[in-house]
Amino acid sequence: MVDRLLGLAKQAEHPPQAAPAAPPDPRATVWASVQLARNPRRPHTLELLAELASEFAELHGDRLFGDDGAIVGGLARIDRFRVVVVGHQKGSDTEENIRRNFGMAKPEGFRKAIRLFELAERFGLPVVTFVDTPGAYPGAEAEERGVAEAIARSIGAMTRLRVPIVSVITGEGGSGGALAIAAGDVVIALENAVYSVISPEGCASILWRTPEKAADAALAMRMSARDQQALGVVDVVVSEPGEGAHVDPAETARRLRAVIIEYLTTLAATPPDELVALRARRYRSLGAFQDLGPGPEPTPVERPGLADRLRRAFEAGSRTLGDTIGGRTVGGRDQREDVGRLQEDDE
């Protein structure tokens, strides 16, 4: 099953990237992606759905406090699949941006997502999520209503969901507010999408003590889609038309649609128990550490694992490491035995 997914990930990366003409400045390159990911004309969830889906019935509300415009969701038909969609929604103009809170969800947004995830599970519908947020809303009212708890519960719900989850990072994958709806069985990213543990400005403010160093932080965090693919956090990168998704949203959606359908097809054939176990394995493999074993004396001999391979790869300076390392990185954990109590019937 893992091999099947890996094979699919490699195939799915179409159309193939042309080799870059000259080695670009990696700092400028990643910062260009950050800018493209934030481009207000970039298609967001609703714009993509208009092209991707033949039908969309939006469902509103968390049944607890409100209806958050920063996260939309509902029932959609993508090709022959009936799915539940959940996605961040930024505005395309100032009025909509205010209404959508610039795609920064409050607790009610994440709790709407949880409700829709559970609806999907109850009726056996696969979930497709679209991720594009600077992060969860950092204001006082979000803290008051427990934004951290809501994010944790949403991630927790995704780990146990007994239906397929396809997540697509379409723009900004900003920290916990992104991950809250991004913990899919497979994570697809658009070419200029970015994904990071903290915003580059936030990282720069803390570690460089000035937000001006955001581009340095973006590079240091390896936040480009390709670098995230190299890390294994992203499974497959979908190239964007022309100078970026915003120049041709329809073509962008067309390309995404093909990959989403491929993954839905594979995942729909996977029994729920296996799906949940594979999802747990996928995330469990995304940690980089060494185990020196028990005993008081450290044995600082590194085994060649994920970390080494990544370090070598990044030091090579390539921006498109995903191609050389493969669609999904599962190495570094191969020698370990205790990956939890999962059923691994087909291994």
């Binding site: 019935a57 939006e58 406090f65 109850r122 009726f123 696969p126």
Partner: protein
């Protein structure tokens, strides 16, 4: 089996050759046109209340409704008398509506898809929920469960029926218990809230749909607006307890114009209870949400 009422048919309060004034915009509406427009004001969109008969006729494919438990009739368990005895009120409501109580349930089809459906009729003692209404809602849920058919409930009710005392209150438990078993089995329930959906009906089955729909501008709330305003000296927010208020506060999925309701139900059921077993969807199993 067509809908049949053993009692004298309700006297239509709007004879077709007369006019009705719209409480929304004040315009005089020719009743024939109002009926053609599903009793929605063509000028301002005000949704008039519907009888159970009219509601079923609008939502279901013609000739598909088969009523169940039509023999359930209310009793007067606590010999309730205020200015008038409950028994007399029941008799008057029966005469006025031709119904035995405020709920009708049965099986029917919506765009060819079979469903269990229960509708409340505000004309029968304000659509209030006593033992018969609670029992019918529960039996509708059990009928849906037994045949694995989606359940639709259209609410229009002032809440629990005071004249049955706490037995009316117990209907909250009865209906919610039946719906919980339906939910555990993965059978879909769509709640449609029409004007008004308040009190014990809103605090039980109407709230807990897998999908909650509402007609535009329906009064939906727990405490009546007058009670609420009178008891606590809050300045009530605009649109308080109307569909749009409920939508913005996260308790309703969609507000649906009556003319679109039938198609909307069919569309939603196309996801939650796909005809032919959902070949396109993921593995279907009765997992507990």
């Amino acid at each position: 089996m067509p809908l049949k009422f053993p009692f004298r048919a309700r006297r239509e309060s709007y004879p077709p050759d007369l006019w009705t004034q719209c409480p929304g915009c004040g315009q005089m509406l020719f009743n024939k046109h109002l009926d053609r427009d599903l009793r929605v004001c063509a000028a301002c969109g005000h949704h008039f209340r519907l009888t159970a008969t009219a509601r079923l006729a609008q939502l279901l494919d013609p000739g598909t409704f088969s009523e169940r438990d039509e023999g359930l009739i209310p009793v007067d368990p606590i010999s309730f008398v205020d200015s008038r005895a409950y028994a007399d009120r029941l008799e008057a409501a029966r005469t006025a509506t031709g119904l035995r109580d405020a709920a009708v349930w049965g099986f029917g089809s919506i765009e060819g898809r079979r469903v269990a459906i229960c509708v409340l009729d505000f004309g029968f003692m304000g659509g209030s929920m006593g033992s018969v209404v609670g029992e019918k809602v529960a039996r509708a849920a059990e009928g849906a469960l037994a045949e694995s058919l989606p359940l639709i409930i259209v609410s229009s009710s002032g809440g629990a029926r005071m004249q049955e005392g706490t037995l009316a209150l117990m209907q909250l438990v009865i209906t919610l218990g039946a719906l919980d078993r339906l939910r555990a089995a993965g059978v879909p329930f769509v709640s449609v809230m029409a004007d008004p959906t308040t009190g014990g009906v809103f605090a039980s089955f109407a709230s807990v749909g897998d999908v909650n729909l509402a007609e535009p501008n329906a009064l939906i709330g727990f405490a009546g607006a007058r009670v609420s305003a009178g008891t606590i000296a809050d300045e009530l927010p605009p649109g308080f307890q109307r569909s749009e208020f409920l939508l913005s506060h996260g308790f309703i999925d969609r507000i649906v114009h009556r003319s679109a309701l039938r198609a909307e139900l069919a569309r939603i059921l196309g996801y939650l209870a796909p005809a032919g077993g959902g070949s396109g969807s993921g593995t279907r199993e009765a997992s507990r949400g």
